[in-house]
């Protein structure tokens, strides 16, 4: 299998186009901030950004001017509070309006499932007696065609033009292994037209084959593989580095004031060429402090059936 390994700069330039629907997934865990920063640096425009939880990464990207629309299910800074740049766009149209399309978590997950499964819609038991369907005409009631005539709501498939997911490790053809919180990395990857896997480490194919149950995304759906350590900071990669909760708290202060935010973007995104520069700017002590102790999984015996 030929290698799909490339740089973040080339992968973003190649796969992300103005006007695209882009999903950088990862539920608290494995959120690829480095890809978001590269999209800002390359001044992509008019993107529809999809994510269950827009998180600080989409606040940064919205402030960076790349987005005209947001698709989401929970719009906040987890454990901290608000996403101020996004709120300014929605509440005050400052500096311009931002279109939104919102679901519940289960609705968003099932949009990816429908997209990944080539289904026209996905039925769920949710939204009953809620106002959410009144503000999102894509969430529609439907009666089961079977005997019990159960009322459900259906959500449409989500097929991002580009899905960007982070994994702890992948081989050069994109077979990716994830442990810890899985979010909907798998669903988003299978739903995407073009797929970028970013990982902490590119490993030999034999490492993947040693533990196939841990493979979440097969290389067959992957277009580009980027090795980028600490790419999820201030989010985390289980077993590699902790969530930088202090930065999530700091972001609340940075993003409250548009000028402070613009200065931050200049210093930490535009003035840096690559994520390697970002790692260096934080410094080794910062990364050491985020490293967890060990908690190894036990081994299982797959058996050899020769």
């Amino acid at each position: 299998m030929s290698s799909k390994v490339t740089t973040m700069r080339d992968a973003v330039a190649d796969l992300v186009r103005d006007g695209d629907t882009v999903a950088i997934e990862g539920f608290t865990h494995l959120i690829c901030f480095a890809a978001g920063h590269e999209i800002i640096r390359q001044r992509k425009r008019d993107l529809t950004l999809a994510r269950m939880t827009p998180d600080v990464i989409y606040d940064q990207m919205v402030a960076g001017g790349v987005a005209s629309k947001l698709i989401f299910s929970w719009l906040g800074n987890p454990g901290v509070g608000s996403l101020h740049a996004i709120r300014r766009r929605i509440e005050d149209h400052d500096p311009e309006p931002l279109e939104i399309e919102e679901y519940s978590h289960f609705g968003m997950v099932c949009r990816y499932v429908a997209g990944a499964s080539n289904l026209p819609f996905f039925p769920i038991r949710s939204y009953y007696e809620s106002d959410i369907p009144t503000v999102n005409p894509k969430i529609l009631p439907m009666t089961s065609p079977y005997d019990d005539a159960t009322e459900v709501y259906v959500v449409p498939p989500l097929r991002p033009n580009v899905s960007i997911v982070h994994a702890q490790r992948a081989d050069a053809s994109g077979d990716a292994q994830i442990w810890g919180l899985l979010g909907c990395q798998k669903e988003a990857a299978f739903a995407g037209e073009r797929v970028m896997v970013v990982c902490e480490e590119v490993v030999e194919e034999s490492v993947i084959r040693q533990d196939p149950n841990r493979t979440v995304i097969p290389g067959v759906v992957v277009d580009a593989v980027v090795e980028e350590p600490f790419a999820c900071h201030p989010s985390f990669a289980q077993g590699y580095y902790d969530r930088d909760n202090a930065f999530y708290l700091q972001w609340d202060r940075i993003a409250r004031d548009p000028e402070t935010l613009a200065t931050w973007l200049k210093e930490w995104v535009f003035d840096l060429g690559t994520h390697a520069d970002y790692r260096e700017k934080w410094g080794a002590a910062h990364w050491d402090a985020l490293r967890p102790g060990d908690a190894m999984s036990g081994e299982v015996n797959y058996g050899r059936y020769a």
Binding site: F27, T28, W74, P78, C110, S130, G180
Partner: protein, 261 residues
């Protein structure tokens, strides 16, 4: 909120909320946990009234055993040592929608007398005064978890006569309608605030004041809600936090006072 004198009782109002909420989990087994206060409440209940409580997080964790107080519902400490980590699809479909969850915590910016919750917007949806986070999993949790426990600080702007937006359904005000819904969930069963505890009236589905916390008065309650509260004829006083509850909160669960100050 309207000024309520802070009595010196040897514990904070937040500690009273935590202790009262944890007691509401007596006998519960599978509990959907939110971040912040519910998290510390569930961890307290696991050490006091619900020893077999499984902590379930929408991030895909069943049976979490956190070694530190998680700062978000996706904290890595929830993954290490858990019973199971599932995809979010499995968590919402197989665990929640299929009816395995006994009890879940919800809160919001606004609640009405029937326990409907708003976490979406203050003001009109298309021209919001304050854009709130939205549903997350709350809408489906409200529908599928057998019992909903609400923890919210009480204030006139949050205990409102009419919600600006109904994100998560509570009781409808018509118990016959509620019984015919066919949901796993029976709606909110209790609300714990910093002033007292409420149940919901069987005949009307309306929030009813059951106990006042020590030092709080009916006038404090009235001054901090947007409707005339229904009061139980057996209105009592919430038992104060026990020394053991306070020790667990202060020494084990939240030694840095992040939540329980």
């Amino acid at each position: 909120m309207s000024a309520v004198a802070e009595p010196d009782l040897g514990y904070s109002r937040t500690e009273m909320m935590i202790a009262a909420s944890a007691r509401g989990l007596e006998g519960a087994t599978n509990c959907f946990v939110g971040v912040g206060l519910p998290n510390i409440v569930c961890n307290l209940a696991q050490r006091t009234v619900a020893l077999d409580l499984q902590l379930v997080y929408e991030s895909g964790v069943f049976g979490a055993k956190p070694e530190r107080l998680p700062l978000s519902i996706g904290d890595p400490t929830l993954a290490t040592g858990a019973t199971a980590i599932t995809s979010m699809f499995e968590l919402f479909a197989f665990y929640l929608q299929a009816g395995l969850i006994d009890v879940a915590f919800l809160g919001g910016a606004q609640i009405d007398r029937f326990g409907n919750l708003n976490t979406t917007v203050i003001g009109p949806y298309d021209a919001p005064k304050v854009r709130l986070p939205g549903s997350g999993g709350a809408c489906e949790i409200a529908i599928h978890a057998r019992h909903i426990l609400v923890i919210m600080r009480q204030a006139e702007r949050s205990f409102v006569d009419r919600l600006d937006f109904r994100t998560s359904p509570g009781h409808s005000g018509d118990p016959a309608h509620d019984a015919a819904r066919g949901w796993h969930g029976t709606g909110p069963t209790s609300v714990v605030t910093d002033l007292g505890t409420y149940g919901f009236d069987d005949a009307t589905g309306e929030m009813t004041l059951i106990t006042l916390h020590p030092g709080m008065t009916l006038d404090d309650v009235r001054a901090n809600m947007g409707w005339e509260p229904k009061v139980s004829p057996d209105l009592g006083e919430t038992p104060a936090p026990t020394p053991e509850e306070l020790r667990l909160i202060r020494e084990e669960l939240d030694p840095r006072g992040v939540y329980a100050k």
